[in-house]
């Protein structure tokens, strides 16, 4: 399936860090922010990694995340078609009732996304940082085969660090 000139590229890895507050359902204003999931859409595969106490509520099985990823890819393409003005690059932010989804697309069409609590700020920066980690620890790794699920220890370590650091920064504010 093709949309425009871009190939369908779908793959997700997901990482979930639950917030530390006691009542995880209740958004606590400016206090706790949760990054629920970090994803990478790429090339027909879905990959979930570093599932830190994911919890039953957020979990998706491989088939489901595959479907979600390819659906997201098409939605991204359709949103470009429906633009009232030319030069649209697709959805950057989707605001749902219980979460915000930020999406970042690299030059080659690889999509990175973060699912977080509504109203979380500075997610563009986090996504760009994740992109940087991807180019460093995945693309420069000789044992990574292009378009395959990512299993790179260093990437996981640095990703977890980036998200924790982000959370610490938010808590400190």
């Amino acid at each position: 399936m093709r949309f425009g000139s871009r190939r369908i590229r779908t793959c997700v890895f997901a990482l979930n860090i639950r917030q530390v507050s006691n009542d995880s359902r209740k958004p606590t204003g400016s206090g706790f922010r949760t990054v629920f999931r970090v994803g990478l859409i790429y090339s027909g595969f879905i990959f979930e990694s570093g599932l830190k106490d994911y919890g039953s509520s957020g979990r998706m099985d491989t088939n489901d995340s595959l479907r979600v990823a390819s659906l997201w890819h098409s939605m991204h393409a359709i949103s470009q078609q429906l633009s009232p003005i030319s030069g649209c690059f697709g959805i950057e932010l989707l605001q749902a009732d219980t979460f915000d989804l930020h999406c970042f697309q690299s030059l080659t069409g690889t999509k990175f996304f973060v699912v977080c609590e509504p109203g979380t700020q500075h997610m563009e920066g986090l996504l760009k940082h994740i992109y940087e980690l991807y180019t460093d620890y995945v693309l420069k790794n000789p044992f990574y085969e292009m378009e395959m699920p990512i299993r790179c220890e260093l990437f996981d370590i640095n990703l977890t660090q980036a998200i924790q650091k982000d959370r610490v920064a938010l808590l400190a504010r």
């Binding site: 460093d136 620890y137 693309l139 420069k140 790794n141 000789p142 044992f143 990574y144 299993r151 790179c152 220890e153 260093l154 990437f155 370590i157």
Partner: protein, 195 residues
């Protein structure tokens, strides 16, 4: 050549000044090139041991032999180290600094064997972006660096067996890399004679 007029042309490569200025290579460029080197060699071998022992190490050996030649000319006034500790500290500081921009983290003598020395790095430059898949066991891309060390030592007349190993560090997520140098018997005998 047409259109290159302004750049001074040296008819002989030996006439070129051996500038000691900062000549750094982009880390990304190196990382991609090294990644390709590993990937290419991976397609040429049957097993991981062969990739580590002969392929990567041999590639490093060639670098080591050249580095020794160059550094003896630049830093030592065309002389080379002849003593064991001298050559080890030459590898640990001079060679390391030229190749990786820093002195190696530590140089130790093996406790169990007289003929073993270890150079340790918390994070070896070649391993900076590399995650070893679980199915490859103890494979270490530091074999390339081990090859460089072997090349330097061999060229200087200190034949040795050099290998790279991951050594877990307490309280650290990532293991450090240790380059283990096991000198040949003749080297130690000569060293004993020299006193």
């Amino acid at each position: 050549m047409i259109g290159v007029g302004k750049i001074k042309q040296y008819s002989n490569v030996l006439d070129k000044p051996l500038s000691k200025g900062k000549q750094e290579v982009s880390l990304s460029a190196f990382a991609f090139l090294f990644s390709e080197l590993v990937q290419y060699n991976q397609t040429q071998v049957d097993n991981i041991a062969e990739l580590e022992r002969s392929r990567l190490e041999d590639a490093g050996y060639a670098v080591g032999a050249r580095v020794l030649e160059l550094l003896c000319h630049r830093d030592k006034g065309n002389r080379r180290e002849t003593r064991l500790l001298g050559i080890l500290s030459f590898v640990h500081s001079t060679v390391w600094k030229v190749l990786f921009g820093k002195v190696a983290d530590s140089l130790e003598k093996g406790t169990e064997h007289e003929d073993e020395y270890m150079i340790s790095e918390k994070e070896l430059l070649v391993n900076r972006f590399i995650s070893i898949p679980k199915d490859m066991g103890t494979f270490n891309c530091g074999a390339f660096v081990a090859g460089i060390v072997r090349g330097v030592l061999d060229g200087a007349g200190f034949p040795a067996v050099v290998t790279a190993h991951f050594v877990p560090v307490e309280g650290q997520q990532r293991p450090r890399t240790t380059i283990l140098i096991k000198f040949a018997e003749e080297v130690l005998r000569r060293e004993a004679r020299l006193g």
